[in-house]
Symmetry: C2
Subunit: 277 residues, 2 copies
Amino acid sequence: MSDGDAATAFAPGHVTGFFSVSRADDPMRAGSRGAGVTLSAGVTVRVTPSDDTEVRLNGDRIDVESATRVLGALDATATVEAETNLPLGAGFGVSGAMALGTAFAANAAFARGRSENDLVSLAHAAEVEAGTGLGDVVAQARGGVPIRVEPGAPGHGVLDGVPAAGRIEYVSFGGLSTSEVIGGDTEALSAAGERALVDLRERPTLPHFFELAREFSRDAELLDGEVAAAVEAVTESGGEAAMAMLGRTAFALGTGLTEAGYDPEVCEIHAAGATLR
Amino acid sequence: MSDGDAATAFAPGHVTGFFSVSRADDPMRAGSRGAGVTLSAGVTVRVTPSDDTEVRLNGDRIDVESATRVLGALDATATVEAETNLPLGAGFGVSGAMALGTAFAANAAFARGRSENDLVSLAHAAEVEAGTGLGDVVAQARGGVPIRVEPGAPGHGVLDGVPAAGRIEYVSFGGLSTSEVIGGDTEALSAAGERALVDLRERPTLPHFFELAREFSRDAELLDGEVAAAVEAVTESGGEAAMAMLGRTAFALGTGLTEAGYDPEVCEIHAAGATLR
């Protein structure tokens, strides 16, 4: 949990299947509705008090505004060392995981005595204010297959979940800019996301989630050529797959991508949310 | 998750440190406020559709009303096979774990298509109506170190958490009847529990939780001789321990009981809530 001054936390990755944007002046009320899958592949964050704040990802210095905002909110000057196998900007919620992991680890390293809901709220607000995500943090704090019924931080947002466990495969062909998509015109996208949410809540099963996520990526006109080909190859061989929002990434249930001839990364649905290590 | 018709789920054990009783005619609104620790030691529940409902715990037939009520609510006739290392009636929330595990496994085995919040609500109501517990189910659905801020099922209750990870030890000297305690006069107990909750929310750390739990067991006059001796032995050797509500069980942080000369069972704080296996 904490050795001397340093502390380590883990936050799961999160791929969104569909979503709608909920804007609000208060970042605690802003966010997104939708649904996704949290992954055992995630981000491990070690926070060590130091004279200057510095953030490293897999050993390289990097500017992650969501993480530095969290440190500021906790009045913490520290070295943040994050390690992950997930690609950046490809729809896995790495910035959200870094915000959340930094919040949990810094709270322990600096003995700030905040509750988990407080830490999730801090990380959510930091991510919204940085413009890098809307719904990943609350999903990554929950684990499983989160349904974001109402947007926002704890106390505002409402979560449910699809009961599920098992293997997830993914292939990533590159990044998409979350801030460009959620900063642009999101009316059609949000209408499609709201429809998918109503449908999923009527029958919250994993195959139904994948079906609705595929429909959403088409309706929202976000489906990318290589991703579309991978998703189609999986469904044609009888599996379930969809595109990760927002990245050029296809993810599949079980051995879907392997059976369709791809060489995917493999992980599991992560039952737990972010936690101290 | 499910092989043919059968499905398996796991629910963590849960030891409550302090609580207050919230009665209500609607079982979804009834429950308890308080705080506790969920444990990697828990209950694995396998549900197989069959012609007659039968519940087994570690191979022996047993009548667990919370579990049979859950099956009824899901219109499921099944064999429920539960396995656990935890003692019964000793404050580990075994009946709550059986209700929750049965809900998750039966939903999968019978393809009932309920959401996780629905399943937690079913299990919570079954446990309240059976009179065997008030707050275990919502805590066991969350994982970690749950703070029950407001009582009741999802949609009514509010949860927070103490950020924590690590080893938990326990020794059990026998049972206490939950239904006798929560069915009796709980005014003084609830007043002590409400005070502890206010204090914990001001400084939600694990050592503070243990301190408040010790105070509660004294104030509520539930502290048992052998349990009191074990708790005192741990604190005198510099560790943190408390009594599990409601059972003749002492639980400790890290190696507290070992260092005090006991031969305890060992587990971990469980990061996740109940889940399909």
